[in-house]
């Protein structure tokens, strides 16, 4: 059977399917070359408020709870799963160990393309310029 305008249609289809698949191909290439950001961990402290996995996945929920507990309930001591107590404060607890926002927070946030607005008000340990 003879196909009308066969060649242009086939070429067009190939280009279309190619364009459709391009993001996946590029994505595969990027994934291969992707390196996890290297964070600067606190020098003197090995244990964070909770486990590494918990902090990695849920630090935002923790900070959210911490804010309400401290501000609204006036309860500023947090007891973690191991029974250790921490003062609820971003500037005075978290950032006393993580002494650099640029070397810690920003690394993953930039990588993940998120821009939390913590530092619009809170003062990073590096100070403001």
């Amino acid at each position: 059977m003879k196909m009308h305008y066969g060649a242009p249609i086939i070429v067009g289809l190939v280009i279309f399917v190619g364009a459709l698949c391009a993001p996946f191909v590029v994505g595969m290439a990027v994934t291969k070359t992707y390196k996890q950001p290297e964070l600067k961990m606190p020098a003197n402290e090995k244990e964070c408020v909770e486990s590494k996995e918990f902090m990695r996945e849920k630090h935002m929920q923790l900070l959210n709870d911490w804010r309400d507990w401290a501000l609204r309930d006036g309860k500023r001591i947090y007891t973690n799963h191991a029974g250790k107590e921490f003062t609820i404060s971003l500037q005075n607890t978290c950032m006393k160990c993580h002494i650099s926002k640029a070397d810690f927070c920003d690394k993953c946030h930039t990588d993940a393309g998120v821009s939390p607005y913590c530092w619009d008000c809170h003062i990073q340990p590096e100070g403001l310029k």
Binding site: D65, R67, D68, W69, A70, L71, R72, D73, G74, K75, R76, I77, Y78, T79, N80, T87, I88, Q91, N92, Y117, D120, C121, H122, I123, P125, G127, L128, K129
Partner: protein, 257 residues
């Protein structure tokens, strides 16, 4: 059939009771509370209150000095003119006690400057009008703000009869000495309202408010609900007035005249 209806109604009754109790029982079963507690160093009250002795603290200079302490502790920007941000400021009698004016006031009272700040009302209109609950009354009576939640609608500024609230029209950090910030306390951002917080962050670690500490005893601070507290003792002995009592807001800041 009779028995069946009876048992059905019984069952329905039990189910209804269960529904009413279930949420609370669930909460209790799950531990009921978050892993938090108050700092034992902190000081608490039922209703914090302040008594300002205007026979001792009555000059603009003296009040500005306290304001400077307060503003540096809380990183309050210094802006002149209509966009000023203030937590504590001086003003004259006519502006401070508008309902208690008298054309022939005693000279001493008329000449004085009065230290004004958020009154931490027992019935705060700002809390009632806030659409996001960014401002709220804490169990210790302090009217505090959660700046994360403030959307800058300024209803609270319209609601407050004392002008105790300031709006950040611009980026407050542009008007702060960034090298001299108090790094223990945050700043604010553009588009939020701010005001005096009775130094909740200091009370939480057992310190008195910054202005009280710097006032050399001209400002008394304590629990209004405790008959043995310092403020109640002062209130028993001295004649005091409050700002705009007819607004029904029940201010917690008293002025010794």
């Amino acid at each position: 059939m009779k028995n069946n209806r009876r048992s059905f109604i019984k069952l329905a009754g039990i189910a209804a009771a269960g529904l009413a109790i279930a949420p609370k029982a669930m909460a209790a079963a799950m531990g009921g509370s978050a892993p938090i507690k108050e700092d034992p160093k902190g000081i608490t009250a039922k209703q914090w209150a302040m008594v300002i002795d205007t026979t001792r603290l009555n000059t603009a200079q003296g009040i500005e000095k306290l304001a400077k302490v307060c503003h540096s502790v809380h990183n309050v920007p210094f802006i002149e003119g209509k966009q000023e941000v203030k937590w504590l400021w001086p003003d004259i009698y006519e502006h401070s006690f508008t309902e208690q004016e008298n054309p022939y006031l005693a000279d001493a009272v008329k000449k004085r400057q009065y230290a004004l700040l958020c009154n931490h009302c027992q019935n705060p209109p700002c809390v009632r009008v806030c659409p996001t609950k960014a401002t709220y009354k804490r169990p210790d009576g302090i009217v505090d703000m959660d700046y994360h939640r403030c959307i800058g609608c300024r209803y609270c500024m319209a609601g407050c009869p004392y002008g105790s609230r300031s709006f950040n029209w611009g980026e407050p950090r542009d008007h702060l000495d960034l090298a001299a910030l108090n790094k223990e306390y945050p700043t604010r951002m553009r588009g939020v309202v701010e005001k005096c917080n009775f130094c909740v962050e200091r009370l939480a670690v057992g310190k008195l408010p910054a202005c009280v500490e710097a006032s050399n005893g001209a400002i008394h601070f304590g629990d209004l609900n405790d008959p043995n507290s310092e403020v109640r003792a002062v209130l028993r002995e001295r004649f005091t007035i409050r700002r705009k009592p007819s607004a029904g807001t029940e201010p917690s800041v008293y002025y010794i005249i």
